[in-house]
């Protein structure tokens, strides 16, 4: 699925559903991220991993989308974790004081090992 400047891809590794985001996440496409994750949680997925390796940057609207999805996952007793949060993107999480608001699990392989 491609929206303005953002590509959302889905894959699976065992019991974990991996959602890969590539590009920029801002006000123009944050609603697509919420819709995608909402649909997954609604369909009964219990382990969702968001891979941010290909993300250029996230704005406040993007962080709202991730917080809404995390809250939605908790209500449905599902786990939503983030991985590959590095470089400038990690800088933005730190800048927003948001590192502790999410479950952030190192690299994709490390995250899959933890969630499996």
């Amino acid at each position: 699925m491609t929206t303005s400047g953002l590509k959302i891809a889905q894959g699976r590794s065992g019991a974990v559903c991996v959602v890969t985001l590539t590009g920029r996440i801002d006000n123009s496409n944050a609603k697509d991220v919420i819709a995608e994750l909402d649909a997954l949680i609604g369909s009964g997925e219990k382990n969702i991993l968001l891979d941010l390796a290909g993300v250029l940057y996230l704005t406040s609207a993007a962080f709202r989308a991730l917080l809404v999805a995390t809250d939605q996952a908790e209500r449905n007793e599902a786990r939503l974790a983030l991985c590959s949060v590095t470089g400038h993107v990690r800088d933005l999480f730190e800048m927003g004081g948001l590192l502790d608001s999410f479950t952030i699990l190192g690299s994709r392989d490390e995250a899959l090992a933890r969630l499996s």
């Binding site: 400047g5 801002d26 940057y57 704005t59 609207a61 917080l67 809250d71 800088d91």
Partner: protein
Amino acid sequence: MRKPPSLIYGLEETPPPLVSAFNGLQHVGLIAINFIYPLLIFRAAGMPLGLVSGLLSTGILVLGMGTFLQVYRLGPVGSGYMCPCTFTAGYLAPSLLAARAGGLPLLFGMTLFAGVLETALAPLLNRLRAIFPPEISGLVVLLIGLSVGIAGLRLMLAPNVAPVADAEWTVAAVTLATMVGLNVWGKGHIRMLCALIGLVVGYIAAGVTGLMRGTFAPVSDAAWLGLPLPTHLSWSFDAALTAPFAIAAVAAALKAAGTIAMCQRMNDADWVRPEMKTTVGGVLADGASTIVAGLMGGPGTNTSTPAVGLAAATGVGSRQVAYAVAIIFVLLSFIPKLSALLAIMPRAVMVPALLFAATFIIINGIQVIASRLLDVRRSLVIGLSMVAGASADIFPALAASAPKALAPLVGSSLALGTVIALTLNLLFRIGVKRKVSFTIEAPELGSRMAEEFFAKQGAAWGARPDIIKRATFAVVQFVEAVAENCAQDRPIVGTATFDEFNLDVRLEYPGALLEFPDRRPSDREIRESEDGVRRLAGFMLRHNADRVRSERANGRSVAQFHFDH
């Protein structure tokens, strides 16, 4: 500071003594290849073998002291990280010039000057980066690599040296083949210590082929234990050599800062950007170590990047290992037999070691250069400076015909190439617009517009990529935050002003002033209200820039973001 999962023993942790000792030995083994630099310099100064051996012992003691200074944190000096000290290729070319021109006194005096200069530069690191942008730092590293390789080849191929015997070609081939073979096809410890193993194999091959015949007396005569007492201490200074040594000192400071950043990243899972207090402390210790070298009688030193890479690979970054490295260096300096064995190293072993080391330095320099967007200006700076640097080695007549005060500059590929690069870099700044305006016609075009604008201007200015990313984010986030309050038919007008040390972005827009709160809204406020998202935007913008300001002017709102460059 949160310990990354890949680290088995973090900075503050204490591994069992045997683990510290074994890791310490590995680091010393890795660094040992660099003993060839002082060896080459002392020989160039025309020192007899016995004296070279004593000087090497003192030099190894300096490495122990330098490693200690780096880890201990004596006041502002020292980073506190496991970051061992080593002899460096960076000081090789200037030191050879000094050794040939004025012997040991000039070598020690100029080394002292370089150390003092590096410590003085430590608090000005950010400014240094502006004068030495990454592509010129990369060029300096590349020229250092070339000078190491050429210094090696001169030992065998220069017109004024003894012709190379058949046995020497054989030993050189065996030594180089061992280093290369183990590096390409070896695994684990063997691969890591390939250079040291190559040296040992080279010595054995030299012994078997008879190259060592008659040279072993200094080793037999040397004691097993002895104090590394500084000898032949006197200092002199030559203003003509300040440029080559100053360039080496700047290169050492930049490399030390880079190595300390590697240490920070290795030890902190949440690392985002270099932390300046330990970086400055690390560069101060690095300069102090070179001062100690100048005072005690040795060539300049630097932090060992491969050793920090090894610590990252083994997951042992404990401070205790650095103490072990320091102790091992000190112990080795008390074994004159070892220094004597190094001092008699045949050129057939030394030259392949220099060529092997040069390869990786050259590639490292190329990688740093290639990490930049090379527009026409930068391509010319790099290309012309490389040709100028190479000409110094290829046409020695250039230096011979230059005025005496300029001869060391014109005669050194490193110094000449760097000075040409710095001059061209300044010259080519002419015509690069420093103040550029842009217009965002509609908020939904903000992201693409900001990305394209800053990518283009960043390349033209030669701005640091991390600063350009932050400026891009500032505009994107700002436009998003004020979008709903803007009249759609009235655009946002922006101005970006750049110089070597500052990037200022000014945005003038129709709408209410945006708040830049110093407290982040709660997760719940962000989730449940538009105001929460907007306050998060203001909070992030405040922390993204080094300074923010907003005001009303001429009936419009103005936001200003300042970034230190």
